[in-house]
Each structure stands twice: as structure tokens, then as C-alpha cells.
Amino acid sequence: MTELLNATAITKRYGGITALSRADFSARAGEVHALLGENGAGKSTFIQILAGAVRPDGGTVTLAGSPYRPRDPQEAQRSGIAPVFQELSLVPDLTVEENIWFRHEPLSAVRTVRARAMREATLELFARHRFPSIRPDQELRRLTLAERQVIEIAKALSRDPKVLILDEATSALGPQETEWLLGLARGLADAGSLVIYISHRLGEVREIADRITVFRNGATVAAYDTQAVDDETIITDMLGRRMDRLYPERKKTSTDTVALGLRGFGVDHRLSDIDLDLREGEVLGVAGMQGHGQRELFQALFGIGGSRGTVDVWGKPKTIRSPRQALTGRDGLALVPEDRRNHGLLLAKSVRENLTLSVIQRFTRFGITDPRREGALVDEMIATLKIKTGTPEQLAGTLSGGNQQKVIFGKMLLTEARILLLYDPTRGIDVGTKGEIFQLMRDLAAKGYAILFYSSDLAELVHVADRVAVLRNGRLAAILEGEQNSERQILRAAMLETRAA
């Protein structure tokens, strides 16, 4: 079988930062080809080059034997390459269907969009690929991140691509949707397309990929058949070092002190009657199918949107109507939000400004900020989380996806709040750092922090959380502990009634 896509010695620099240095990549039609590498390795940059969004400084690409040098994304689309971008390429003010068919809408004789045809095409596309049902006529801004992710996939598929690129397309998806996407990718490959698959979830990669290419520091370090290689080798190639274990040892560190007590907590019709105690020293997992109230729980606890019921924080009743009321130093609550680009990061501001935005008073004396103290905090956090940034002054928006997530995590840690609301904190983070973050969570718990932890990856909940609270239709369906805390049990509790309903 001949190679469909062949890239050699691709180089891309951003000022002083080298994103890619002579990276090679080759893939065949009809395969799922995984592209792996730690955060900032250059995967997304490579994808953007293929997508025509970025022009390389050097190197050559051939597509089906002929030179391929897209001048802009449009040209890439015409060549049959459809990317699902890590940062998504959706427009908040267009509807779902307008987003999917953007730039290739069905046109009438007077060159206007045929709404009926577009609706039919959307439903047909959804049905053909068994998409989760999402109303095609809503504005995209009303969708959750997971829903947006799905629409981005639909958008790519709408072009019937020869090459489908999935850049961390599963990072915001729950187990079921992930399963669906893997099936979909497999199906496309079997039908003769090339699927380039980027993910930090090795399990998925193993399940689906035929071959794997690994990038490190912008260069290709390895390429192999999935069958012929074990996880340890892949991880070592990615990180450039060995990693002992992903999940930390779980020691019971929780005390009897209730850090966060909820009674009759609810958010309009989406969440109700939640009674829950989060203890000091505990990592309490939250699970559930997408859209069953997890994000409402986290946001409402942080003072976003209204809520009802009582909230006790460290034994005292507390009203939280805004993030400002939540973030009250060591006694407060801090959140890693779901939507990092719209809620978590000032993309146009530096890493430093982002990290310290919530804690300016920590380095302010007599009303004047002290750059040295700020610098110390920032440097420490960059080192702790291994944030890959040229300097602390690099704009957050130019960091790799995983490193953006690390900045948000660091920003939350700096608040010193001892109740942490972690909504999918490891989304898009590479295995190496993931392990470190889990370790950090356990260490913090041991220090008396209380952590509420949602993850779209059930394995993380099972291995890191002490207990897991499962939500179903906005209600608490079960609290699983010990033996009960397994992926199977979580899924059972989360879905049992959904089927019936």
C-alpha cells in the first residue's frame, strides 16, 4: 500500500519558539494513524500546516504523490483534508447547521442558502454517522463544550474528507460519545479514508490506531505499528523518560470535618435535591452522562447562574452569588472551568497575567504590585506544572492546548482556596503531566484540601477519587465507594434510568 500523505522535515518557528523542527510523518489511506506527543510537542502545529492555517518555514508535504502546499484553509478543504481543530473552528453566533455547512452551504438559484436542504442534509449527516441528537437550529453559543466538540466533528465530516484529522476530538467527550467516535473513525478508515488521530488517552489509541507516530520537541522520534509496541515504549518515546505509574497510590486522607456540605442544592430544572458532603482531605468524584447536571453543579457552587438550597463551607453557611464570593482566600472555593477558551483564559494576555489574575492581592503592598513577588509566584507555578512556555510573557493563546489547561490549573492553585472544584482538569494534558497532576491532587488532599473532581474519563475517577457521586437527570443517583467504585458500576448508575426515561 502506498503512502497517501507524506511530510518530510517540516519546520515551523514562532519568533524564538520552535514548534516543529524537521518533523516527518507519513500515513496510508485506509488506516487510523495516531499522532502522539507530550504537550507542546508540535502536534497541533503540524495539523494546522496540513489544514492550510499555518505556513511552514521549511519542509515538504506530498498528498497522493503530488506536492501539497495549501495557501489557506480553503485550499486544504478542496484537497479533501478536513480537520477537527483542537481549539475548534466554530462560530458562536451561527446556528448548529450553519456551522456545519459554513462555506459550502447548499445554494438556491439566487445564491442564497436553501434552509430546507441544509436541514435535510444535516439530519441525513447525523443519521448516517449516528450522531447524538442536537437541535440543528440553535445558536452554537448555547451548546455545551461537549456538544460543540460533536458539531466540530460533524462539520469536518460534512465535507466527505479523504483525510480526517481528529485533534483531541475526544478530550471533552464522555465515555459513550468517545466510543461512538472511535467506531466512526474506524468505519471511515475501513471505507478507505485516512484518519489522523491525536489523543492523550492511550487506551483509545490502542483501541483504534493501526500505526503511531510520536513527536517530541517538534521532531519525529518514533513510528511503529500499534501491534508491535507496548505502552511503556510509547510513553518513554513521548516523554523522553520512563514513567513509573499514571495513577498515584490512593491513601485515605479524609477526616470527619465537612469542607463543603450541600442540602437540597439545585439549579432550576437541571439539578435538584442534591445532598452531598465533601470532607477535608477527600477527593470526591462526580460522574454522569453528559448534560445530567455536572457542569451546573460545578458552576453553581462557584456562583455562576442561580442556585437554591443551602451550602455550608467549612461548617458555616455561605451564600455564593458570584465567583468573587467563592474566591475568598484559603476558606474559599476555586474552579477549573469547563470551557477554557471562553471562561478560563485571557487568550490575548500573557501566561503571567493569566496565572495571577485571581490573586493580585497576594503580591500587592500598599496598593502597588510587586513584580518580583509576582514573578516568584509565576515561576514557581510554571515549574511545578511544567508549563511549556517561551517566557512568562508569551501570550496564553499561543500555548499548546495542554499547556493552556495547565495555566488554568495553576491559576486556580495560586488562589490557595482549599476547596477545589476541578471540572475535567486533565483535559488535553499528556500522560506524564496527568500523572503529576493526580499526584498533586492526592498531595493536596493529604494537606487538608477538599477536592470535587469531575472527569470525562471514567478511569480517572475510579483511580483517583475516594468516592464517586453519580448524577442522573440532575439528581444524585448513587455514591460509590471502595469495591463499588468501578467503571461498570458508574456507568450502570449513570444510565440505568436514562434508558427507561
Binding site: 481549539e87 473552528s89 466554530l90 439566487v110 442536537i134 456538544e147 461512538w180
Partner: protein
């Protein structure tokens, strides 16, 4: 609906009908609210003056608002793109002086120049678009500069108000068909244009680029192309506004254009268009322009003493916008 075994469950549980309605209303709040505002103003106005709900009133008010509406149409397109166009001030002035000095008495010559003026508007706008993209300058600065350059050109052609237009030309606004003045018909044409335009690929791309520039680019929108089209259209509508204006004034003026810069933005913003791009449409802008015009009528029939006139019009504007902002805010809160 087909439920296949490998299809994931629905991402979210189904919203109720009421919730769907509510979100549909909310999506249109920025249009509904100015509508309510306008209706409220009209009711107050009608209680103070006879014959408000007649064709005559419609004809008069449309003529009064039409130049602003045309200017604001271009501005709307630019605002949807997330930009701003101050140069319409210069283009309107230039358009009126060209018309007043070049039309002559020969209808053919006048028609040729009318097309010429529209073409100049498009070219100047396209130039704005090119400068903004190529120099990566803020639209505010580029169009501030071209506003000045166009005004200067207008002033060289005609140093002060004057010139003349063919007598048939100034009859345009007065002539009626089926009881409706040609201004009303023009408005109808404009609405038809908009219904068409907003559903073209270009119309969608302009809105999308204003909503999220990066996403639009990744989806295949050409940055320079979109700017040329956006500002070009704005220039064309400024030229049309100039031509319409001359039917009302029968003369050229090298300074008259600046009167439409801020009001064109205000009309659009009242009509629900965000300066940050992406949201709103021409219908809102037209309503905004009528609101501004009706406020003038209202202050007239209120017969307030002359010094109080600006205060009263300011307060009416503020109260109307405040009421709508509060309504929209509480609607949003009740939803999420």
C-alpha cells in the same frame, strides 16, 4: 428517530417545549426589544397627535429616516463584521457634492454619474478593507483617515453648500405609488435586499467573521476578501445614502456627511447590534433609525420649551434603552 446500538445517548436530556420557546425568544431578544421600544414610542406619539397610524405619517417618517437608514445599512454590515466605518461621513459628503456638481440637466449624464458615485463608494470602501487588512490597522484609525481624505476631496470640489440637481431628481421622495411614497418603496427594496443578502454565503461569512475571526479563517474565509466586501458594501451604501440625501436637499454639501456617522452607529446599536460583531441584523437597525426619528417627532409634539428639547430627547432615548437592557438582562437570568 433511529436509535442504533452504537449511537450514544443524547448529550443532554431533552429541553421542554417551554425552554425551547424561551431560548428561541432569547435568541431574538435583541430584535424583539427594539420593536417593543418602537411600538411604545409610537403609542405615546399617537396619543399626542392625530393621524399617526396613517400612510401619510409612514411616508413622512420614512423619508425623514431614509438617509440614516441607508447609511446605517452599510454601518450594520461593518459592525456585524466587528469593525466600524467612520469614512461614511466623507463618502456621503463626496457623493452629494459630486451629484450636485456633475449631474447637469441631461438625465443620461445624471444616471451615469449616479452609477459612478456608487462605484466610487464601493472602490473607496474596498480600499478601506485593503488598508485594514494589509497594514493590520484598526478600522477606527483607517476609516478616520479616509473620512478626512474624502471630506477634503468633497470640499475641493465644492467648498461650501450649493450646486443643484435636476428638478426631476428632487421629486423622487415626493412621488407616490399606491399611496406609498417612493421612499417607502425604497425601504421595501432594501428589506428584500437584506432578506436575500443575509442568506448568501457572503452574508453569513461576514457575520461569522465578526463572531469569531479565527474560526472563520480556519473555515476558509479569506481575511482580505471579507474586509474588501464588508467595507466595499459600506461604501456603496454610503454613496446610496448620499444620492437619497440629495433628493431631499436638492443640493450638495461638503460637510453634511459627518451628521450620519454617530447616528448610524447609534441606530444599529439601539437595534441590537453588538460592537463586538456577529449579532443583529438590518431590521433592528431600521427600527433603531425609526426610533431616533420618532423621538424627534415626539419631542416636537410634547411642546417642551426649547432648552428642554435635548434633555427630553436624551431622556427618552435613555429610558427606552434602559428598559430594554433591563428586560433583556432579566430574561437572560431567568433562563440560565
Amino acid at each position: 428517530m433511529t436509535v442504533a446500538t452504537s449511537s450514544p445517548s443524547e448529550l443532554a436530556h431533552r429541553p421542554s417545549r417551554a425552554a425551547i420557546w424561551k431560548s428561541a425568544l432569547l435568541d431574538r431578544a435583541s430584535l424583539i426589544i427594539p420593536c417593543v421600544m418602537l411600538i411604545g414610542l409610537l403609542l405615546v406619539y399617537a396619543s399626542l397627535r392625530d393621524g399617526v397610524f396613517t400612510l401619510d405619517e409612514l411616508n413622512l417618517d420614512t423619508a425623514a429616516a431614509m438617509t440614516l437608514i441607508l447609511a446605517a445599512t452599510g454601518q450594520t454590515i461593518v459592525l456585524l463584521r466587528g469593525g466600524i466605518d467612520l469614512s461614511i461621513g466623507g463618502m456621503i459628503s463626496l457623493g452629494t457634492v459630486l451629484a450636485a456638481t456633475r449631474f447637469g440637466t441631461d438625465p443620461a449624464q445624471a444616471a451615469a454619474w449616479a452609477f459612478g458615485i456608487v462605484a466610487i463608494g464601493g472602490l473607496v470602501g474596498a480600499l478601506n478593507g485593503i488598508l485594514i487588512t494589509a497594514l493590520r490597522l484598526q478600522p477606527f484609525l483607517v476609516t478616520l483617515a479616509t473620512w478626512s481624505i474624502l471630506s477634503g476631496t468633497a470640499m475641493i470640489i465644492l467648498p461650501t453648500d450649493g450646486g443643484s440637481l435636476p428638478s426631476g431628481w428632487t421629486m423622487f421622495g415626493v412621488s407616490t405609488k399606491l399611496g406609498l411614497s417612493s421612499s417607502v418603496w425604497l425601504l421595501a427594496v432594501l428589506l428584500v435586499f437584506w432578506i436575500w443578502f443575509k442568506r448568501t454565503r457572503l452574508g453569513i461569512a461576514i457575520r461569522a467573521t465578526g463572531s469569531n475571526e479565527r474560526s472563520a479563517f480556519l473555515s476558509g474565509v479569506s481575511p482580505i476578501g471579507i474586509n474588501i466586501a464588508t467595507y466595499g458594501l459600506s461604501g456603496i451604501f454610503a454613496a446610496l445614502a448620499a444620492l437619497y440625501l440629495t433628493t431631499q436637499t436638492g443640493a450638495g454639501s461638503p460637510t453634511i456627511g459627518k451628521d450620519y456617522i454617530l447616528p448610524s452607529v447609534a441606530a444599529a446599536v439601539i437595534g441590537g447590534i453588538s460592537l463586538f460583531g456577529g449579532r443583529g441584523g438590518l431590521v433592528g437597525t431600521i427600527i433603531g433609525a425609526f426610533i431616533l426619528t420618532i423621538i424627534g417627532n415626539l419631542v416636537f409634539v410634547l411642546e417642551v420649551s426649547s432648552y428642554w428639547q435635548p434633555i427630553v430627547s436624551g431622556i427618552i432615548l435613555l429610558v427606552a434603552v434602559l428598559a430594554s437592557s433591563i428586560a433583556e438582562k432579566s430574561a437572560r437570568r431567568s433562563l440560565s
